[in-house]
């Protein structure tokens, strides 16, 4: 049994356990309570008495939704929890951790928002995470039709795909891919009889601002303005870049030096290339010469076949970034009459196609934000779409500020603070939205309009 991770935060951690009826919440709850982790856990149960929980501090709760809306902010909290937590804190010496088990039909939003609305409560309690149990077999009966199931998956910091013995490996993969598309920020684990490592469900730091962007790095990759990169190791000389007519009458390219022939690091040039592709391109006519360096070139492709010349003055490794994939233009690089082959290739084609009503949108953009513009955009976004944005997290680079700014939100409630200083890494912004009917293109466009 792995011991619960301790930290310096004196506040009592709280974990919310959600999951549709029969997903295994109570089994997991009993498992947590029976493990020898040395913690005294107070349990707030919505389905009081469903399965006996052998624990001294078990409090029954009756869902009581309380709206604090003011016409602008939709803030719905759980009145029953406020009362129970208030009373529980008077017995603070009796427990070290609080677990809240919701009903199978509960919306996790009001439960989570309860921990954001009162400063005093925030000084005593720390919402650690939302753990959602998913019945790997029967969830399919509700995944398309039940808002509760979708919201429970979308709100989760940890998704436990339970009852894996009832499905094949292929079915499990399919489910994982589906829930991953809905919530890219959650950690996913699989279990039989809710047997999960306690460290995977307690003290996960899901609402810890310092860990706001601990999500799948692949998901947080930007949608690149280029589709392909090839790294060539080239002796000095002249090369011919041949292209045939393709789907676009022009193609933007950049040729960047990335080291010497033996040791090169093309990955380090990605952000440079992203910035370069946002700048104005120089139009290049056929047979004109292109030299490696920080310049975007626009190749006009009006004829069936056209050649451009690369002049390489020093031997080394060069990364060729192209707006489209080479095969679309049958593009190839030649030295004299022989073809120069890339020593490394990478596709950057974005792959975010899915049609779920609930989804995640990640945005990564280099550069600094204008605070005023960002505030205005975010205010409007939350006013118009706050009820559909379940959770969001982000790390921002603000113009004129030396420190990163980290934030997170649940619906329209927001929590943010300056974080550590920017170090050697390039200043950039990362955001993730999880919600219903998110318009990826509009979110990206809106966010980009906030750049300084």
């Amino acid at each position: 049994m792995e011991a619960l991770v301790e930290n310096d935060d004196p506040r009592v951690p709280v974990t919310i356990l959600t999951g549709f009826l029969g997903s295994g919440k109570t089994t997991l709850l009993n498992r947590i309570l029976s493990e020898q982790h040395g913690k005294r856990i107070a349990v707030i149960e919505n389905e009081f008495g469903e399965v006996g929980v052998d624990q001294e501090l078990v409090i029954g709760a009756e869902e009581e939704i309380f709206e604090m809306n003011n016409g602008c902010i939709c803030c719905t909290v759980r009145g029953d929890l406020i009362r129970i937590l208030g009373n529980l804190m008077k017995r603070r010496d009796k427990f070290d951790y609080i677990l809240i088990e919701t009903t199978g039909m509960a919306d996790p939003g009001p439960v989570a928002q309860t921990f954001f609305v009162d400063d005093e409560m925030q000084t005593k309690l720390r919402l650690d995470g939302i753990v959602t149990l998913v019945d790997a077999k029967h969830v399919w009966l509700h995944l398309d039709t039940s808002n509760e199931v979708k919201e429970q998956i979308a709100f989760a910091d940890v998704l436990v795909l339970n009852k894996t013995d009832l499905v094949t490996n292929d079915e499990l993969e399919k489910l994982e891919s589906r829930v991953r598309a809905m919530n890219r920020a959650a950690k996913i684990c699989r279990s039989l009889n809710a047997e999960v490592e306690i460290a995977n469900v307690l003290n996960v730091g899901g609402f810890n601002l310092g860990r706001a962007m601990e999500v799948d790095p692949k998901f947080m990759e930007p949608e690149y303005p280029f589709e392909w990169r090839g790294v060539y190791t080239l002796p000095s000389g002249r090369y011919t870049y041949c292209l045939k007519r393709g789907p676009d009458p022009a193609m933007n390219i950049a040729l960047l030096p990335v080291g010497n022939v033996r040791t090169h690091n093309a990955q380090a040039s990605v952000m440079d290339a992203v910035l370069l592709f946002s700048e104005d391109a120089i139009a290049v006519s056929p047979n004109e010469t292109i030299r490696p360096g920080r310049q975007l070139h626009r190749l006009a492709l009006t004829e069936d076949s056209q050649n451009f010349t690369f002049a390489v003055d020093a031997p080394g490794a060069y990364a060729l970034y192209t707006q489209h994939k080479p095969e679309e233009f049958q593009a190839a690089l030649f030295s004299d009459s022989s073809m120069a082959c890339p020593v490394e290739e990478k596709d950057f084609k974005p792959d975010h196609e899915h049609d779920d009503e609930v989804s995640s949108v990640g945005i990564t953009t280099p550069g600094d934000l204008d605070k005023k513009k960002f505030n205005k955009w975010m205010s409007e976004l939350l006013r118009n779409q706050g009820t559909d944005i379940f959770r969001m997290k982000g790390v921002l680079s603000l113009k004129g500020e030396d420190n990163r700014f980290v934030f997170q939100g649940v619906h329209m409630l927001f929590d943010g603070r300056p974080d550590r200083p920017w170090r050697e890494e390039e200043r950039h912004n990362q955001l993730i939205f999880i919600g219903r009917n998110l318009d990826r293109a509009r979110l990206k466009e809106g966010f980009h309009s906030c750049l300084a």
Partner: protein, 100 residues
Amino acid sequence: MDIFSSRSSCDSSGCASAIKAQVAAELALDEDATVLVTELACMEEGCPPIETVIAVFHPKMPKLQLRVHRPMSEITTSDIQKLCAQKINPLSENDNGSSC
């Protein structure tokens, strides 16, 4: 709404505690009551940017909500007195807590 400013005008929660204590005293609440105080942003034109919402939860009482169109740190003891008096006797004063 300013996401870059502190989440509440009462960072140390000192004034929130004072508001809660005064509300509990004015309404003669017993120890089963829980008082919640929060600031909500308002983005409508003509509406003050921050509104303070005070909610009282008690197992034997209907939920009670009081609103002041000012940040917590600017709420005075006389504001609380008036609001609570209104709730005890709704015809006694103007409705200071109307929404915008």
